[in-house]
Symmetry: C2
Subunit: 308 residues, 2 copies
Amino acid sequence: MSKLVIVGTVAFDAIETPFGKTDKILGGAATYIGLSASNFNVDSAAVSVVGGDFPQEYLDLLKNRNVDIEGIEIVKEGKTFFWSGKYHNDMNSRDTLVTELNVLEHFNPVVPENYKDADVVMLGNLHPAVQQGVLDQMSKKPKLAILDTMNFWMDIALDDLLSVIKNVDVITINDEEARQLSGEYSLVVAARKIHEMGPKYVVIKKGEHGALLFHNGNVFYAPALPLEEVFDPTGAGDTFAGGFAGYLAKTGDFSFENMKTAVIYGSTLASFCVEKFGTERMQNLTDKEIYKRLDQFKSLTQFDIELT
Amino acid sequence: MSKLVIVGTVAFDAIETPFGKTDKILGGAATYIGLSASNFNVDSAAVSVVGGDFPQEYLDLLKNRNVDIEGIEIVKEGKTFFWSGKYHNDMNSRDTLVTELNVLEHFNPVVPENYKDADVVMLGNLHPAVQQGVLDQMSKKPKLAILDTMNFWMDIALDDLLSVIKNVDVITINDEEARQLSGEYSLVVAARKIHEMGPKYVVIKKGEHGALLFHNGNVFYAPALPLEEVFDPTGAGDTFAGGFAGYLAKTGDFSFENMKTAVIYGSTLASFCVEKFGTERMQNLTDKEIYKRLDQFKSLTQFDIELT
């Protein structure tokens, strides 16, 4: 069992989908990652910042799922990061309606003393300089550093991003972002170029089309579970990353073979996340539900072929 | 070993992709299906029509791959069906530049006497009334009738299409067409609605995102092999269908479990088709190459999870 450090936003989200809309609810990359990773009973700590307006019950919710919140700074006189978005009918694209950085604007992450020797670090989507700042605080090089990012940072902070990408073992990124970062349309070629930027493992997330794991010319594919209905895609990518990181932290086995299983766990947890608004479905997920769905993933993908 | 009847176009294609363009080359649904199915050494017959302008060498090519061409009518004074298209840079969409129906306009399919008792019938993309005409000529109900179609027939011949769909066991259709036919965005719901139209098995092809096989609430997913480069997607869907039908005809086992393997074979063969222009890659494919790629599909999708 390895310790897991999670850095990312803890935030308010307001979400509109064809199925309805929410007021300000609990959101943020570190929240989704933490809730997802908590299913593996690892010792994890969230590193983030919130304002004085952030309800204690949200912090308690993370704490009760065994996510250490000592690293979540509370800026009493500040306001919590707020994002609002509206999904189009196909659920594959969305418009951002509001982004209020608030306390995130001057965020200096502080890794709790007890977590500076963590084996696994999950750098959720944030300014790459903040992600690097977390790596710099570690007392020893983590055995596995995983980075998630988005096109926004490629647009405004590419040098910082390329610099932190050099220092991680795994990058998780969506297909369009992989194309933007590499300048290549083919995901196979894009993965190879990103591999050359530093990460030994490249995970390309394709939303409803699943995820690809690349390593040294090898590739593994995890489908997304075909669902009757995607209710709210918010947080699915972070939930995937949290499941991936949580499973790897739990097993302490960072081989390609074990990463395949980690990708399946990530996809499995993400398939729950999209069933309800925000973090709702992730708050009370049971092991039994997870095992049942893993079984569905097996039926979905396993086949017999005798090669003669 | 079951006999296989294939109906579809045998045609000239002229193709333009970002990698180059061709003159009039061999194309057509029945051509791709026949070449693909020929890898299973089944007794197959193509039912189609060509004009007097169609080169004997193309017919010989099919014959040499063990595809019976008695059912390919040659209208001496007529011209062969011609299609020309240009792919966009992403290879996922294309513009049709020319469609000349020619001899296809008055096509009356004739199933060779020796194939009227075939167990497997693959109805390639054609006017649904022609597809039904082939079924009507069978001396006994085939054990497995598979239908491929496209949005064009939904637009101009929906009643005929719904009528033939009632009479088949399997439909293969792409994701957008499944949505159009069912009026449902979710592919899970779309498959259920199409299932209610008749076919016990629904295969939804998602191009570079693989294919889904639905049956009675069960679902199986075959990814497409991630390729460095898609050179020419023309015929990939028909090649998929030909591999699917060919494997099922060879094994004579029409169970859901065996259909999973058939879908993997279909995806495997389609992954070759797109590597070169037109049918070029499919003309000299060896069993060794196919087995090697099947192995890649296994590595791509198989994983170990112990559920505790």
